[in-house]
């Protein structure tokens, strides 16, 4: 902060001192250069706002059945028309977006927590490294999509009766996607931790008697945040695609509880007469995933010191 005041006092012969540059400002500057990442962030923020604020503006109930107005084209009242039961498609897409995004973010968070935990433990404690990494390899060798289908088929009814149809499926899908997508994060984090724990600042922390868990939480963890952030964006994209794929195969949420994948699945039946019913939710998925992927690209470039210094 004092740097900003210095140039005035500097002797006339010396060049003015450059303003103080923090790491995060550099990262942001590199991120802002990446046009795709900025566009992706804009679109993603727009989609999130539209999905969560939109229902307050477009107040039609997505599950309200108005059978007289079925199969209508787009109008002022129904911007995306109505479906075969007269439900408003736009309201359904908005409601579906809430669920899809919620699934994406929660499943991503779960997989990050598992991945980071396993990665940090395996990297930091040598004794745990072998078993935990073999465990990761084992998970990588499992055929994930078939297993997802199987788990959902088998545990759907139990969870439905325990938590109600919607919450039960939500818990199941988030849990299942979370526990099948943490492996890449764990591997990357472990690699970084292996390098970090040999550095001087960790040694210094040990030498002043810092406890193990404090070393991990104060010194190791903040330094592996950047790969975790990249995995977070990719994780959201992956979770949204997986959820919609499951819904598309008819193994996701019940049909009165719309998600984007479910809407595509329902629309496929009427594909020949009303292809737009597949395209609206489908485009929503594609746009969200595309924007999130571009954000991930931008974050990765921004956090990569080699690329940042090339500017």
């Amino acid at each position: 902060m004092t740097d900003a005041a210095l140039p005035n006092q500097a002797p006339p012969g010396e060049p003015a001192m450059r303003p103080h540059r923090s790491l995060w400002r550099d990262v942001w500057a590199q991120f802002a250069v990446h046009k795709g990442a900025m566009a992706g962030t804009g679109i993603f923020v727009f989609i999130v706002l539209a999905v969560f604020i939109g229902p307050y503006i477009h107040t039609l109930d997505p599950s309200f059945i108005d059978i007289r107005n079925k199969n209508q084209g787009p109008s002022f009242e129904h911007p995306m028309g109505t479906d075969q039961l007269g439900r408003d498609t736009f309201a359904q897409v908005l409601a579906g977006g809430q669920v899809s995004l919620a699934v994406g973010v929660t499943a991503m968070a779960l997989s990050l927590v598992i991945g980071t935990l396993i990665g940090v433990l395996a990297g930091y404690f040598r004794r745990l490294d072998g078993p935990l990494m073999r465990f990761t390899d084992l998970f990588l060798a499992l055929p994930l999509l078939p297993l997802l289908l199987v788990i959902i088929m088998l545990f759907r009814d139990t969870l439905r009766s325990a938590f109600g149809p919607e919450t039960g499926i939500f818990i199941l899908i988030v849990f299942v996607i979370g526990i099948t997508s943490w492996m890449q994060t764990a591997r990357i984090v472990r690699g970084d931790v292996l390098g970090l724990k040999e550095r001087e600042f960790v040694l210094a922390a040990h030498s002043i008697g810092t406890r193990q868990h404090r070393v991990i939480s104060r010194h190791i963890f903040p330094n592996v945040l950047s790969p975790i952030m990249v995995s977070a964006t990719l994780g959201i994209a992956n979770a949204i695609i997986t959820e919609s794929a499951l819904s598309f195969l008819g193994l996701g949420f019940p049909s009165d509880f719309p998600t984007w994948g479910r809407l595509v699945f329902d629309g496929v039946t009427f594909l020949e007469q009303h292809p737009e019913r597949v395209l609206y939710p489908g485009m929503a998925i594609a746009l969200t995933v595309l924007s999130v992927n571009y954000m991930g690209d931008g974050i990765r470039d921004a956090l990569d010191p080699r690329i940042r210094s090339n500017r």
Binding site: L138, P143, E272, P275
Partner: protein, 342 residues
């Protein structure tokens, strides 16, 4: 290298056993009843008999060992018998893994479905590679040109759009909007009974394969071209490229012999690693275009709670993953002389 291969092969045995046990346990601990879909009029005693006839009377470890024996001993023996037309031991009474829904051996179902999957999925992977490699090479060579910009954008789009969306969009475009008498019309349903006998039936076959193959090929090409581009970029800035140019080699030779051969090393491993994932991703594509391949068989099994079928298919997918991981490692070792496994 040879020792390494043997060691890895030996290591796959416990891995696969563990995976098969996990799959078995998962399916067995699940709270569902195979007789749950039967009519309510069936008495509990009869239900119990049905359960025993399905082999559920035994404790879990016996059933697991039985399945292992059926899958690893009986099925291979049966295949050998069929291929060479010989008989080994007591072929009549040998138990095979039976599907609950169809009451026929699971492996027979798999063999029935295999050709369609191999044709569609295999072809799409080949097409994907053929598209991806040139795009990756040109994008990297003309870095930041308009070709690179468009190529990167298209691969990002292809990578982000799920296959069920590209599939349905293609169906809308080529089967719904285009009139069925037009030569550009493509069928949206894959007809497995179609036989190629002459030119016109060959054209029909090509047409019905076109859409599923394109959907999967686009997805694979998007991923592969990103790898190819990154790998080419890594190599193009290396010293040996400058040396080759300084020696006065033609640009074509520098690019296609020196750089390409080195950049292909990681890409080939990625290609090998992607093969089992293609089988997994094909589940959705097969469902869209109604290709009755392995993926669709799995979906039918899942929907019908056909445990032995699902178990065996999932395990076959797991075997593919482990196998291609091994192949990828070995290829890497063969192609890159810097890698030493011993």
């Amino acid at each position: 290298m040879f020792n390494y291969t043997i060691r890895r092969l030996l290591f796959t045995v416990p891995t696969l056993l563990l995976i098969s046990f996990i799959i078995f346990l998962l399916l067995d601990l699940a709270p569902n009843d195979p007789t749950g879909n039967l009519p309510m009029t069936i008495t509990p005693e009869v239900r119990e008999k049905i359960r025993i006839s399905l082999g559920l009377g035994e404790p879990i470890h016996i059933r697991y060992l039985l399945w292992l024996q059926q899958f690893f001993v009986n099925e291979p023996l049966n295949l050998i018998e069929e291929w060479w037309g010989i008989q080994i031991g007591d072929a009549e009474n040998r138990l095979r893994v039976q599907s609950w829904a169809t009451r026929s051996p699971v492996v027979d179902l798999v063999v029935e479905r295999m050709p369609q999957t191999l044709w569609v999925v295999g072809m799409s992977y080949v097409v994907g590679i053929l598209i991806a490699l040139p795009i990756g090479i040109i994008s990297a060579y003309k870095h930041y040109s308009w070709f690179d910009q468009i190529g990167t954008f298209v691969s990002m789009v292809g990578f982000s759009i799920p296959t069920f969306l590209t599939g349905t969009v293609l169906i809308v475009l080529f089967s719904v909007l285009i009139d069925s008498s037009s030569p550009f019309w493509l069928p949206s349903i894959y007809d497995t009974t179609h036989r190629v006998t002459d030119w016109s039936s060959f054209v029909v076959q090509v047409k019905q394969m076109a859409m599923p193959v394109m959907v999967l090929a686009l997805f694979n090409a998007a991923q592969l071209s990103r790898f190819m581009r990154a790998s080419m970029l890594d190599n193009l800035s290396q010293d040996y490229v400058r040396t080759a140019r300084a020696k006065g080699m033609k640009e074509r030779v520098v690019l296609l012999v020196h750089v390409l051969r080195n950049s292909l090393i990681p890409v080939v491993t990625v290609i090998a690693l992607g093969v089992p994932q293609v089988f997994g991703g094909a589940i959705i594509t097969e469902q869209i275009f109604k290709v009755n391949g392995l993926g669709q068989l799995l979906i039918i099994g899942v929907q019908g709670a056909d445990i032995p079928l699902v178990q065996t298919l999932t395990f076959i997918f797991a075997v593919l993953i482990v196998l291609f991981n091994l192949i990828a490692d070995l290829i890497y070792g063969i192609l890159d002389p810097r890698i030493r496994y011993d």
